[in-house]
């Protein structure tokens, strides 16, 4: 849009950002609100962050969420990376298309459907719902994303590098550890961070698959908001936003690093 006047263009841009970020900005702003009422401004304060530290229920939920995020992201990263290698490096095996479709299904499946399916599975298996089922559900969700990211990187890694390693006497395991893994590592790390972020802010899957005693932070917030917005919820939301943004920034930095270590 070279011909457009600069002022209207800037105005439109601001409207766009306002639309996207005004609600988030409000949450952050009100988390520093001194007033007891969540929607009335009463001056600056950090009191709700202080109150957070004494709300044991909320802290327990935060811990559950963090543990589930790390555990499920680790599982998703390992399985997702292996799936990417199977899809890209193995000879075309039978049912490869089916395999790829099943790996990528969670990317497009509505979360409600996936949550319901997992719930039915756990119930029919007789598994008690709790932390383990939560981790399994989140790992399933993250796996597809990790596979997509790692596979994209693998395509760019020249196969002859692996052949050269074999030619020089390295067996398959050594070749993977010393050649393939270092070259795809930025993608593996980015996949881990993405899987963790997905797990952190998931509400739907968690509602279906977790049980009493393993309530996640999003679930806790959701249930508290139904009773009226507490300023503490604003504070905890701000912390979550900060954490997710930092993770995404780290993923973006890793991506830039990946590009700079591109295979010639």
């Amino acid at each position: 849009m070279r011909g457009a006047a600069p002022l209207p263009r800037a105005f439109v841009l601001c409207l766009g950002f306002l639309f996207l970020y005004a609600p988030i900005a409000l949450v952050i702003l009100y988390s520093f609100n001194a007033s007891r009422l969540a929607t009335v401004w009463g001056g600056w304060s950090l009191r709700w962050y202080g109150a957070l530290l004494e709300n044991e229920q909320l802290l327990a939920s935060a811990a559950t969420t963090a543990e589930a995020a790390v555990a499920s992201a680790t599982i998703a990263t390992i399985l997702g990376t292996l799936a990417a290698i199977a899809l890209d490096r193995f000879a075309r095996f039978r049912s490869r298309t089916l395999f790829a479709g099943m790996i990528y299904a969670p990317l497009v499946l509505p979360e409600v459907v996936m949550g319901l399916a997992l719930l039915l599975l756990f119930v029919s298996l007789g598994l008690e719902r709790g932390f383990v089922t939560l981790v399994v559900a989140h790992a399933t969700l993250g796996l597809g994303f990790v596979t997509v990211i790692v596979r994209a990187r693998l395509v760019g890694v020249d196969r002859t590098l692996e052949e050269a390693a074999a030619d020089l006497g390295a067996g398959p395991v050594t070749t993977f550890c010393r050649i393939t893994l270092p070259l795809i590592f930025p993608a593996v790390a980015a996949g881990f961070l993405l899987a963790m972020t997905l797990s952190l802010d998931d509400l739907v899957l968690a509602s279906f698959t977790t049980g009493p005693g393993s309530t996640t932070l999003p679930m806790r917030i959701y249930s508290e908001v139904r009773l009226g917005v507490s300023p503490q919820v604003n504070a905890v939301s701000t912390l979550m936003i900060a954490f997710v943004w930092l993770s995404l920034a780290a993923a973006a930095l890793l991506d830039r690093w990946r590009r700079s270590t591109r295979v010639p």
Binding site: L161, E163, A166, D167, L168, G169, R178, P182, L183, T261
Partner: protein
Amino acid sequence: MPLLRLEHVTKRHGGFTAVNDVSLTIGKGELFALLGPSGCGKTTLLRLVAGFETPDQGRVLIDGEEVTEVPAHRRPVNMMFQSYALFPHMSVEKNIAFGLVQDGLPKKEIAARVADGLRLVQLEGLGARRPDRLSGGQRQRVALARALVKRPKLLLLDEPLAALDKRLREETGFELVHLQKTLGTTFLVVTHDQKEAMAMAGRIAVMRAGRIEQIGTAAEIYERPASRHVAEFVGEINLFDGEVVGPDEDRRKVATAAGVLDIGPRARFAPGAAIIVAVRPERVVLARTASGAIEANAFPGTIAEKAYLGDVTLYRVAIAAGLVLRAARPNTGPGDEMFEPGDSVVATFAPESCVVLRA
């Protein structure tokens, strides 16, 4: 005992036969070249020797031991890849040391061999660099050093000069030959460039469509090609399809579209046999008028095109029946006689210059 022995090796990719019943023996210390156009199976053959692929039929023996089913990382051969395949996340030193580390050599020995390797390819002082900070020629040398420090029984080189620019290619080719002689390692080179193969290799195998058409020295392949394909692929050549006509004691005459050719005494071709007569352009003599010294194989014609290439001048001479004869004349000095397009000439060649191929 031969170092490499291929026995009736066949490899199919889907419905395509990349290597078709190839048998080949390479002796210790040879510099052997596989020459052929792209898609002729030469690279597949190299990969079968390296162990990246397993033949569908046949056996591969290295130094008397059957390795047909042995995976690449357990074979006593090393390969220099066309793309060099240097590990981008490792320094030059680490790249060269990689194979030695896999062998579990002591650190001191590895360091000494890496230093030797760097010296061998004249890259001392560049050991700490990353591959992407090297020029094309330097990368080629690192790849060579990395393969050679393992002291393989057989070194495989896949188009070793193809990625270099033209000026560097000739020099590097000579260096490879020198290195091969010094080390005594057996080299198996794959190339599509006939000049490269002829300049470097002691023996050459010319491949086509998965089969070996001829094995011989550069001179044998150039002077006595075994088939039409070899004649056409290695250097320029004039071909005449014809039929032996007789009777004529031991001398043979051939009826072709260009006229009757005299191919000299060649008793093994009986009258009536369909053959191809091949003549290299540099054996074709051009003159303004018939000299009379050679009565046979004289073709009056007109110069159609001329290309001055410095060392030689190439001519295309339009002769009878719409045929074109290629002729090459060396440029020896300022007194050389030049022909221009449109000039009337007589092209001649001696009966002994003819190569006779079965049609």
